[in-house]
Subunit: 325 residues, 2 copies
């Protein structure tokens, strides 16, 4: 209910998901009247889709603490409750990030050994993809928390992409040991002493170079880096569009080059990377971009399905236990 | 002497600068034998170019404190000394950033009211450019230091781009007042109370959107954002190249679209933005990218010339005095 584009996007993504997978059941959580109007015909035809009523919606601008305290029957809260009581294996939401995180942390609790959840997402990289965290769950992180992020990132990369011993890097302002502030240097010491495949510091220039599988950083820096990528891709696309629409000759070129430009757009299309995991929770919660369309939202559901199949929380928990031993 | 590509790049940039400007004098500082071999014919023909011998070179990997203590006759140190004693109006170097900053701070001193230098550069933005600082001079910054950066950034934007009342933003992970850590919130309070044209928080997505003229952040975040932009542009270019070289048909398209692709490349060419200012010093020092070619290095000299014409240090000093009053 609480994404920027409303419930219709979610219903369309649900329909596409049911067509794609044989053994997936979906519950639409929210206003029953609205959801029935949008999805009634699918619910009637396919027993794998059901509707669960929730009387409230958390607004995008609502302070997380307030949403948590006052909206006990929000679509977000009810969906997370379904994960808590085992009626659902995962929750996917395009709603208010802060409220989703606060609610998920309160209802599901953290895994033992994890202080705070971190937001992790898969991003485009040369020859594959990379997993970066924290993308904004917490503005600051201690060296120990960065270490926990590294454990979680390793599991996600190994699970989702099947990478054995994923290469883990710390985002820093230089590759040399002497670079950066104390937090990042101390985290490097912890990672060097661990069983993780820590490969050192990485700079912004090399984020998408294919040299690393997991990039660990605090939520402030990670959020800025992620959004700067998005903004830069937008500027590149803008310049291409402008250049190709200058006159009839460049427009003809654009027409001829359309398949190539579409390939570029698809490579850099953030919709193909939609669906960030709230890692560290005792349960699976996926955050979709607030303005995701049905195509992007479906990708977020895909991510949830992969994590359920691979029992992500259990795997993070057992690796943490191994590291602590 | 100390850039990645050696003195030849600098000599070629110097020759181009002399051809472009009538009233500029240049001093090449470094090994006299090497510089004479490279530039002897120009020095003979044009009295505006001279050579000043320096017996040492600071290596790229040399710790700044060591360079400062041990290499008193490095090309970098001698060049900055020329600024100190008034023989030169500005110093441009492609050498070790940390050593350049430490040496400049030690020799030239800070302007009254400025704690530390900040690295500021002009970057591409929609419909113009933006000035961002700190790009890595200091890994952390207090709210007061962020405020000082804002003052320096305003002056540079006004001076270099002639923008009246440049719009100043703080880089943050959300646009709302409640977002971010305490440092950025306290800096926002200082800026709101100042005479600067503070327009609020800005997210990474909007850095290059044309909504702001000056972006203020700590050196860690700024460096990551800058390098992430570079890396993202590189990935876009790579995808374009790959897509266009797939087969003879796409190669033909690339040939037809070459002027458009060149326009894109030029718009996003970091060489056109080479030359970062070490702001806050009592003197003008410009840092060129270590791997700058002659074209890029010439752009760094251009920046120095504009700052000399506009007496940048004096302007920053007087605005700070006004803000303190």
């Amino acid at each position: 209910m609480s994404g920027d584009l409303g419930a219709e996007v979610v219903v369309r993504a649900a329909a596409a998901t049911l067509a794609k997978y044989q053994h997936v059941n979906l519950v639409l959580v929210g206003d029953e009247t609205e959801l029935s109007a949008l999805a009634g015909n699918i619910v009637g035809a396919d027993a794998r889709l059901s509707i669960r009523h929730a009387s409230e919606v958390v607004a995008m601008s609502e302070p997380p603490a307030e949403a948590l305290r006052k909206k006990k029957d929000s679509s977000m809260r009810v969906a997370i409750n379904l994960v808590k009581d085992g009626s659902a294996d995962a929750c996917v939401s395009a709603g208010n990030t802060g409220a989703l995180m606060a609610t998920a942390k309160f209802v599901l609790k953290m895994l033992p050994g994890i202080d705070r959840p971190a937001i992790i997402a898969e991003l485009p990289a040369l020859g594959g993809s990379l997993h970066m965290l924290d993308l904004g769950a917490n503005t600051q992180a201690t060296p120990e928390q960065l270490f926990q992020y590294a454990v979680m990132g390793s599991i996600v990369a190994a699970d989702i992409n099947g990478i054995e011993a994923p290469r883990v890097s710390l985002l820093n302002i230089g590759a040399e040991d002497t670079k950066g502030h104390d937090t990042v240097k101390e985290a490097a010491a912890l990672l060097s002493a661990s069983a993780l495949n820590y490969v050192g510091f990485i700079e912004g220039t090399d984020l998408m170079s294919g040299k690393t599988d997991v990039v660990v950083t605090d939520g402030f820096t990670g959020n800025v880096a992620l959004k700067t990528m998005e903004g830069t891709v937008g500027l590149c696309k803008h310049h291409l569009r402008t250049a190709f629409s200058r006159n009839w000759f460049t427009k003809l070129q654009a027409f001829l080059a359309a398949p190539v430009l579409r390939a570029l757009a698809s490579n850099m299309d953030s919709r193909n990377y939609n669906g960030a995991t709230l890692a560290g929770l005792n349960g699976i919660v996926i955050k979709s971009h607030g303005s995701a369309d049905a195509y992007a939202f479906q990708h977020a559901i895909d991510t949830a399905i992969v994590e359920v199949r691979n029992q992500l929380p259990q795997q993070i928990g057992s690796l943490l236990k191994k590291e602590a031993a």
